[in-house]
């Protein structure tokens, strides 16, 4: 699903966020990405979502080399990925329903299909009763679940989550993680960046540990 070969990322100004990263995560796998803050977790996720581009090395997504992919093709790659942010990036002038529907609208689904899929996703996350509300009226945990609903509504092959539980209490965090496990069980590849060691230890998934922009140890293939 994801293959990095000797990938480095140097930001303008000389800061080297990632240095010589190589790993391979197979289709349908689930893994954690850990490391102290500033270790390069976010940068690695951004390279996968093509928000940042590698300075050296090559990035493959779903068998396709996306390293030098043209800007016109990027949106179509991003539609294969569900991205969950720490601050959820919801649109506050739209209802929960419209927020979740956005990826389907962008992909050009038919009206009826959009309604069906959005309600299915909201139902799965226990938000069906809130579809007409605006995000401001929801609690932090609910907002995060709306963000997750938006990420999965398009049935992506890959879920990327950047500190998805950063602002949540342990109880809610565990719930969110269990949701990710559920998605993984139906075949979605999941990569979660987090520094919540307790959470990682409580679940038995492979861990990619970043230290100062390098992978600690040799994780090899993540299956």
């Amino acid at each position: 699903m994801i293959r990095f070969t000797n990938v480095s990322k140097r930001y303008p100004g000389g800061f080297e966020a990632l240095n010589g990263i190589s790993f391979h995560m197979e289709k349908g796998a689930m893994a954690f990405l850990t490391g102290h803050s500033g270790a390069g977790k976010s940068t690695l996720l951004k390279l996968i979502a093509l928000i940042e581009r590698a300075s050296r090395g090559q990035v493959f997504l779903d068998g396709e080399n996306v390293t030098g992919l043209g800007a016109r093709r990027i949106p179509y790659i991003r539609r294969k990925i569900g991205f969950i942010f720490q601050d959820h990036h919801l649109l506050f002038d739209r209802t929960v329903f419209d927020n979740v529907a956005l990826p389907l609208v962008i992909a050009g689904y038919r009206h009826q299909e959009i309604g069906r899929r959005v309600r299915a996703a909201l139902d799965k996350l226990g938000l069906l009763s809130k579809e007409k509300l605006y995000p401001v009226t929801l609690s932090g945990g609910e907002q995060q679940r709306v963000g997750i609903a938006r990420a999965v509504v398009n049935k992506p092959m890959l879920l990327l989550a950047d500190e998805p539980t950063g602002n949540l209490d342990p109880e809610l965090s565990r719930e969110i993680m269990q949701l990710f496990s559920l998605f993984n069980e139906v075949g979605v590849s999941v990569l979660i960046a987090t520094h919540d060691i307790g959470l990682i230890d409580s679940m038995e998934y492979p861990v990619l540990a970043l230290q100062h922009g390098r992978l600690a140890g040799h994780p090899g293939d993540i299956t």
Partner: protein, 328 residues
Amino acid sequence: MIGRRRNQRVNDASGTRRRLRLASPRVFLQRHAQVALDSLGRLWRSPLPSLMTAAVIGIALALPSGMYLLLDNLQRLGSNRDNQVSLSVYLKDGVPAQQAQQLAGRIGDWPESADVRLITPEQGLAEFGARTGLADVLGELEENPLPAVLVVVPGPAHTTPRAADALRAKLAALPEVEQAQLDLEWVQRLAAMIEIARRGILVIGGLLALAVVLVIGNTIRLEIQNRRPEIVVTKLIGATNAFVRRPFLYAGFWYGLCGGLLAWLVVQAGFWLLHEPVARLAGLYQSDFSLFTRPLASAGVLLSCGALLGLLGSWLALGRHLNAIEPG
């Protein structure tokens, strides 16, 4: 390497197929209609700023189009008369009618003249009376003050000002002729003035069209800045530039269209106000001239101009500012 490239092409192909399947023409139209209505709804929700922008556009479009229509009327006033160049040759008093007739025949044989018509003093008086409504007064006159007149129409090769003037000199030199006068000079002068005014209006119109583009461009630029977070999020979840651009293009389109509509209303109202006094003035000159507006044609021109300028303005703003907004 070759294998990888082939692999990529397969992916490309499947991606394209998927897109085509999703974006059937019906869905495409449905989506456009939705975005168009959405953009209109956005303008509707902030009526005062939208109306102000539309009003600026409307005034900017109404000025040149109103002036152009006035000019059109003026031109019609000129072409109402016989726009042909002709010369009036006033014969001396005491030239008998028969001699005048012979002279007309002689001049008619000249290569410079295409047509010669004799207006006897009696005909002239009758015509003058009919045209001015002063027939009763003229009837009181003891004798006819009008001379016999030959109306000479120059041949096609002699209508230029210089050739016509040469012909006038030749006619004036004839012994029977008191005076030869190039008629309808005022029509030519009017035409020349109208041409100058038309150019002037074209320049003003061009500048005001530019102003419309800039106003809409600036409005859309502010709109882009206000909706920056939304643009970032939609790009993050796979929106193409076309998708992001669409609502702004429609917003520009609506601004332009509303501005065009306002401009049309302003022009129509202006002409409605002018109609009565102009008709009264024309009546004083014994003319049945009245302003004409061509409401349908001007509506078509103003609405399409407004919409096009709106699209252009937002397109320029998007080109300048949208690409700078990327998630990161």
